[in-house]
Every structure is written in C-alpha cells, then in structure tokens.
C-alpha cells in the first residue's frame, strides 16, 4: 500500500500521546500571535469554539458563516446530548471505556490516537460549558444529570432537555461574540466561502461572497480553518438544516485537499417518516428517546390495526429480540438496518408501511409508578399513574413530543410514534492528520467537516463532543506546530496574483451558471440527485447499483450545466444562485461517494454492501484488505486517485462487532 499521507500520530503509549505532544508542541509567543491572522470558516460548535479560543489566545481571527448570525449554525438543532467520560454516575465509565466504545462503535475504522485524545479532553468540555452558563439538566441535589445513548452501557451523556445543541452553541456563540465585542474577532455573517487561495502550496486565504450584495471579497490568513459541517444534504432529504452544504470542503478538495471515506454516511433510525412529495427535510426524533421508548412492529405481515389495538403478544420487539445485550440501544447503523429489514419484509406500519413504532406506553407506566412511590401513593389509580408518568416524560422529552405532534398531527403521549431511518450525519470528510491539518499546509478541518474520529459509524452524542474538542482543546495547541514556523511571514496583500486568479475563477463560474438560462430549477436537480443517492448509495449498496448511480450522476451533471435556470442577478441577494452553486458541488461529491462505496468491497458501520453480509444479515468487514482510510485526491473531472492510510490497532483487539 502506498503511504503518501502521514497522520503524524505521536509515538508512545496511547494514554501518554496527547499529554506528551501537548507539552512539547512548539509555541508562538504572545507578541507574534498578534500579527498572525487566522480565518475560521463556519461558526457552528467547531468553528465558534475555535474562533473564540484562538482569539482569547491572542491571534487575529476573521470568522465567516452563511446564516445571518453565528447562533443559527446547524449545530443549534442537535437534540439529545453530549458525551463525556466523567463517570459522575459511578457506573464504571472511564477515558478508556469511551475510547473503546467509540472505536468499536465506528466498526474499527478510526484512528486510535485521535479517538483516545477525544476521550481524554471530553471532561474538560463539560467544565467549560458549565462555566459559560450552559444550563445542563440537573438532579435535585444540584449535580449534573446523565442519560444513555446507543452503543454504550454507561450513562455518560450530558443534556439540556432535547435542546443540547442549542445550549452548547449559544455558549460557544457567547464566547465568540465576547471576542467580537473586544475586537479580537471580525465576524462576517451572510458570507459564503467560495474558494481557498493557495500560494506556494500553502493555504493563504479565501474568496468569500457577501450574500447580501453579491460582492466577491478576498481575505488573507496565515492559516485557514474549515469548520463548515457535514454533507448529508447530498441526499436532498436529511435531518440537516436546509443550508448545510459541502461547498467549502469541496472547493478545498479541488485545491488539493484529500477527501476521506466519503461513503461513510450515517442513517439515523428514529426520524419522522416522509409524508409526501412536498417534503423539504426530515425531522429527527432524538436517539435519547431510545432510552425509554421501545421499538416494535406487528408480528403479522400487513397488519392494518392501529398500534394501540395490537395486543402485547402480537408485537415483535425486534431489537430486544435480536440484540438482547443492548436491546433498543444498539448503535444507529444496526437499528436502521433492522428497521429497513422489517419494513422490506412487509411488517411496516402506518399508511406508507415504511415505518416502525417507537412506543412510550411502557415508560409512562414505569415512571408513573416510580412517582407514585416517591409520593407514597400506594393505591394510585391507573389514570393517576399515567398522568404522573406523562409528566416525567414531558420533562425529559417534551419538546420532541411537541415537535412530533406538530408535524404529524398525532399525540405521542397517547399513540406510539411512527419512525423510519433518515440520513443524518456524515463520518467522511476532509482528510486531516493528528493536528487536524489537511494535506494542504495551513489548511485545517474541524468538526463534522473532517473525517477524523468516528470511523464508519458515529455513536450518538459524540459529534457535539468532537466539534467542541476540536475547537476548544485540540486546535489551540496543534495549530502552534504550523504557525510557529510562520512568524516571519508578513501578511500577504490580497492584490497578489493568486487572489486575483481565484476571484476571477469564482466570478466566471457564477456568470456561467447565470448564463445557462435553461428550464429547470436548482431545487429540482437537487431532488433528483437525492433520489439517486438514497436508492443506490443509501442504507444498502451493491456493485450494480453503484455503477448505475455513477452513470446517472454524470448524466445529471451534464443536464445541470446545460439546463439549470437561475433567475435574478449576481450583484444582489440571490438565494437561488447560491443554491445552484451548492447543488453543483453536491453532484460532484455524489459521484465520489459512489466511487468510494464501490471501492470498499466490504460492509462496515454505515456502509453496507449487500454482497458482504453474514448469514444473520450483519455487516461483514474485510480487515485484511480494507483496514484503511480511503483518502481521495482530485485529479480532474470524474477522476480521483486513492491514497490509502492504513489503520493500526495497537491497543484494541479487533473483533466482529457484536451487540448481542
């Protein structure tokens, strides 16, 4: 295997790597920091925490986001919680256990060094957030409360009702705005990065479009951090916010940054099912609901009775049946496939038959009884117990239940919820080394935008952890190893030919798009791409399907570039034009995802190739041939070169993943 990419994992025992590295990484003195400029693109959890922390340290920071405020980044929508190995519950948690769970959850396709570091810094994240005033859920004694998430047997998830992402982001945002107020960060909202500028092979700035005026701007930085989120919207329908897109990462890819494991996508098992063609996005019902809810389908095929009318003995709690050790809390990839399997076999529920039940009746009764005991009500009636149980469930999950009701018109306190898997998260992303630097010197990727820590499947409540780890506790140290050698580089004028050229290319592309003047809207192309991806590169993939998908995507691309219709002009607020640019990038990414999925002749985590499964229908890995990160280098239209980075396990014994 060629080894073009150096992950730069420090030597030494796993538990010492980070501590040792951190205390030996070169530093930049305070005076020099003031003359070093850092561009942070994206101000979700990863970007806001990085921008705030780097500014606190004394660097000059410019931060960008496409929404009208950093507070609206997609991170705001995260519901269930954030993991940390605090062991506050005294249930046997530890840094090692979080490390182990994450590697196993990722189906042995992530780097030991990175994941251990993530587990090590997880505790400090909670401390930092509490200090910022993040109102985490608490117990009556005033201490922090925890719950469980999939793929673990301990309670290590911290949460703020079903609004954890919101509260964490508002914490990071307040830190960021504090630095804006002081003048250490210049914030550019409603700006979209449209290219990375490289000079002598190093990232030196970006071209950004002011989305209000349409003006193109040039910005210099000694380094550029992409914290631009995931690319789940390549599927059109996903749980991501409407604006989430791959453009920034894709531009970086075309400027030389390798894109790693693009086919690793996470399909989340518990989302509100599609209701019709008009659907613009899918809504997640947090994984935390699997703490207390039980998933089932009727034992009989094509059962048309309402959920409540099906007696207990005619229900198949298929996760509890197939995976007794983890039950309803198996990892997402497994829960999703199991739901698809039942529905495909004709056991689905609801009008579309593409749904399973997530039932709270049992939890309501259980909590009701606990409350009755607490209140010494030994003869509580069924109704009283149910009322008290509903109140507990409301406190824990009230906003999710409200949302379900709002969208479906059904009351989940009375009827089991109907759920089905939906695209949710992308484990793949820009390839980065231990420092979070891409293979383009000076260009970094943080948060969901990089590929680093989750292997082939991310565990619930670990994305928030990773985003904040990257921004608060990793990049502030690792960036020193690059910037310490840049202290003699004076700010480069944006009149430099590299800036002029990059700006010209961006302008030409915009004009090209506007001048096609075809017949079909950018939205309609996005929908069609999404359908190809979901059918052929979604929950189950096959060689035949992927080959078809590649041909279909290439044809779609030609059609797009000859028939897209974009109204309005370049020099005004024009969301259609912005959308068109993003769709064009998604189309190219879609092709690479299929190429990657076709190359990976195995099943692992979220990547399930129908040809590679065990007799029981579980994912069948091929460690001998595929224990590597697939990093793809762009070589021109529809052409990529594969740079595999071998994965080496020195601490964890590789096994077939079992949750039985």
């Amino acid at each position: 295997m060629s080894n073009k990419l150096d992950a730069k994992i420090p030597e030494g025992p796993i538990a010492d790597k980070w501590t040792k590295y951190r205390s030996t990484v070169p530093l930049v003195n305070p005076a020099n920091k003031r003359s070093l400029e850092i561009i942070v693109v994206g101000t979700g959890l990863a970007g806001a925490s990085a921008a705030a922390t780097l500014a606190e340290m004394g660097y000059k920071v410019k931060a960008f986001c496409f929404q009208d405020s950093p507070r609206r980044a997609h991170s705001i929508a995260a519901q269930g919680g954030i993991n940390a190995a605090k062991n506050y519950q005294n249930d046997g948690d530890s840094v090692y256990r979080l490390f182990y769970d994450t590697i196993k959850g990722g189906d042995y396709r992530s780097r030991e060094g990175n994941v251990h570091r993530l587990a090590e810094v997880s505790g400090s994240i909670i401390d930092q957030c509490v200090a910022q005033g993040v109102p985490f859920a608490r117990e009556y004694g005033g201490l922090l409360s925890n719950r469980s998430f999939g793929g673990t047997q301990v309670q290590r998830t911290f949460y703020a009702a079903g609004q954890t992402g919101q509260q964490l982001l508002l914490g990071a945002y307040s830190g960021l705005e504090r630095q804006v107020g002081i003048g250490n960060v210049t914030m550019y909202t409603r700006h979209e990065m449209l290219d990375v500028v490289t000079i002598d092979g190093k990232a030196r700035g970006i071209i950004a479009k002011n989305l209000v005026t349409g003006e193109l701007e040039r910005h210099f930085g000694h380094s550029v951090l992409l914290c631009t989120g995931g690319y789940g919207n390549v599927f059109y329908l996903s749980t991501n916010a409407m604006g989430s897109n791959v453009t920034a990462a894709w531009k970086a890819h075309k400027k030389g940054a390798n894109f790693a494991n693009p086919c690793y996508t996470q399909i989340h098992p518990t989302c509100i099912p599609v209701s019709g063609d008009h659907q613009s996005k899918l809504t997640l019902m947090s994984e935390s609901l699997r703490n207390d809810g039980r998933i089932w389908v009727p034992k009989k095929q094509n059962d048309t009775r309402l959920g409540n009318d099906i007696p207990e003995e005619e229900r198949d709690y298929y996760l509890e049946r197939r995976y007794p050790a983890f039950g309803n809390l198996v990892p997402r990839d497994i829960a999703s496939r199991a739901a698809k399997e039942r529905c495909d076999a004709g056991y689905g529920v609801g009008a579309s038959k593409m749904a399973v039940y997530l039932d709270y009746a049992y939890a309501i009764e259980r909590y009701g009884k606990i409350e009755a005991n607490k209140k010494n009500m030994h003869n509580a009636s069924k109704e009283e117990i149910s009322e008290m149980g509903k109140a507990v469930v409301k406190e824990k999950y009230g906003n999710l239940f409200d949302m379900y009701k709002q969208i479906t018109g059904e009351d989940p306190y009375e009827l089991p919820m109907r759920i089905y898997p939906a695209v949710h998260y992308t484990m793949g992303g820009l390839w980065v080394d231990y420092n979070l630097m891409t293979n383009v010197p000076g260009l970094y990727a943080l948060g969901e935008a990089n590929f680093s820590d989750h292997g082939a499947n991310r565990l619930g409540a670990s994305a928030l952890m990773q985003g904040l780890a990257d921004g608060y506790f990793v990049i502030p140290y690792t960036i020193g190893s690059y910037l310490s050698s840049e202290i003699r580089t004076k700010a480069i004028s944006t009149d430099h030919p590299a800036f002029a050229e990059a700006e010209k290319a961006v302008r030409e592309r915009i004009n090209k798009l506007l001048n096609i003047k075809g017949k079909q809207s950018p939205e309609s192309f996005h929908k069609r791409l999404g359908k190809i991806m979901w059918d052929k590169c979604g929950m189950a993939r096959s060689e035949k399907g992927l080959k078809e998908a590649i041909a279909e995507i290439q044809a779609l691309k030609n059609e797009f570039w000859s028939d897209v219709r974009i109204l309005g002009d370049a020099d005004e607020f024009n969301p259609e034009l912005d959308k068109a640019g993003r769709v064009a990038d998604f189309i190219e990414l879609g092709e690479l995802m299929c190429v990657d999925a076709l190359n990976r002749n195995e099943s692992c985590g979220g990547h399930f190739r129908e040809e590679y499964q065990t007799e029981e229908g579980e994912a069948l890995r091929d460690d001998e041939n595929f224990m590597y990160v697939a990093a793809w280098e762009y070589e021109g239209e529809s052409k990529w070169n594969l740079n595999p980075e071998p994965l080496i396990y020195e601490n964890i014994k590789i096994a077939q993943r079992s949750y039985k």
Binding site: S69, R71, G175, G181, A241, F573
Partner: protein, 249 residues
C-alpha cells in the same frame, strides 16, 4: 386546498416594496408553511418570475432564522410555534393569507421577507456572556445548582433570537430578547460577578440600535414561539434598576 397569498415583495433595502397577490392550488394539509412557499417558488421559477426570498434553515423551530409576519401575527396564528413548524392544517381552503417581513427600524429589510437582525448579535457582544476563557473552568460538578434555578435558567435560555417579540411590539422593543439572556445568566451562580454590568451594557446597546422602549403591553410574550415569559422583563428591570442605583444584590 387553494389559497390566495399576498406577499411583500421588495427588491432591496433602497427601493419601496409592495404586496403582490399569488394564487396557490393543490396545497396539502401536511405541508409546512415554508413548504407551501417552496411550491409557490418552484412555480414562479418555471414562469420566469424571481422566487420570493425568505430566511429559513433548520425547519425545526430551533435556529430562529424563519421570520414571517402572517396575517398580522409574527410566525402566524398558532401559539408557541415558529413559521417553519406551522402546518397548512392551521388554514382553510379558500383563505387569503397576508405575509410580510418583520417590521422594525432596527431590522431593515434586505429583500422581500428577509430582514437584517445583526443588531441582536451586537447586543450579545456588548455583554450577553460570562467572561471565562477556555481552560479556566473548574470541575462541572464542583458548583451544584439547585434544580429549580437551573430549570428557570434553561427556560430563559430557550430564546432562539428570532425577533418575533420585536415585530409583535408596537414600540419595536427588544426587551423580551434582552431580558431572556440577562435572566438566564442572573439565575446562575456563574453569572453573578458580571451581573450588573451585563444588564447595563446590554440595555445601552439595545437603545443604541434603535429599538423602542417597553410599555408593558405583553404582545411580545404572547407571540414568542418559545413562550419566553414576561417575568424575565420584570427581572431585567430589577437588575437594571439595581445596577443603576449601584446596589449589590
């Protein structure tokens, strides 16, 4: 169902806008209000008319980006719901629906239904935070916080910064928004050291941005999609008064 929409169209900040009328047909009850706009926009594009610009992102009622003033109410007729979570089952076949942008001096229109709310960010930048640098924190459990206080702080922290409160207020006051942040931090022990300073600075910035004064009409809380309570305004008034009198409680 079939509907008549009257929608505010305005090319940019500099020119005047006006209501345009559109007929939409074949709308299903399960669509969200914004999906109904998607359908209309697709049609406008196919007819060669520029689609209607509106802000939105999460479509889950949490990012605070969507902002339509529907039949005289910010976020429309339902209580405790953002525009993106409003579904067409709240309307009837044959209805006429008037849709306008937020109206406030401090929220200038950018295009059609899109307004500039950067004044909210500047208010937060003036003091809506706890001054703690990364790495300064002590262990999270070293500071027990009574559940009741934590819950109250959480309720105030639920504000999504949408600006509906401003748009609902006849004075275009931002008191509910400011008071939610001031309350969240004043209710927590971590927020105590900067408590008075914070209230003073945020109120000063709010005034500087051109938001109106609060005359206690309560329209803000009635229209707030996150049901932020008027108690927060009372708390802000106490904080502010305490701060300007120099008392230390």
């Amino acid at each position: 169902m079939n509907l008549t929409l009257k929608v505010w169209r305005q090319k940019n900040k500099k020119v005047n806008g006006k209501l345009e009328t559109y007929q939409v047909a074949g709308i299903s009850e399960d669509m969200s209000f914004l999906e109904m706009f998607d359908v209309l926009n697709e049609r406008l594009v196919s007819e060669g008319t520029e689609p209607i610009a509106f802000d939105h992102d999460c479509r889950e009622g949490i990012c605070g980006m969507c902002s339509m003033y529907i039949n005289g109410q910010p976020h429309g007729p339902l209580q405790g719901v953002t525009t993106c979570q409003l579904h067409m089952r709240s309307f009837k076949d044959g209805d006429t629906i008037v849709v306008e942008p937020w109206r406030a001096v401090a929220f200038p229109v950018i295009k059609d239904l899109v307004v500039d709310r950067s004044s909210f960010d500047r208010i937060i930048a003036s003091g809506g935070f706890i001054s703690v640098n990364t790495g300064n924190a002590q262990d999270g459990n070293s500071l027990p916080i009574p559940k009741d206080d934590a819950d109250k702080a959480f309720m105030a922290a639920a504000c999504i910064g949408c600006g509906a409160c401003v748009s609902a207020c006849k004075n275009a006051s931002a008191m509910l928004f400011v008071s939610a942040k001031v309350s969240q931090l004043a209710l927590l022990p971590q927020g105590q050291p900067e408590r008075q300073d914070r209230a003073m600075k945020m109120v000063a910035q709010m005034d500087a941005e051109g938001f109106g004064t609060c005359t206690n009409t309560g329209a803000c809380a009635a229209e707030c999609p996150k049901e932020i309570s008027l108690e927060n305004i009372a708390r802000l008034n106490r904080e502010y008064l305490g701060a300007s009198l120099g008392s230390t409680n």
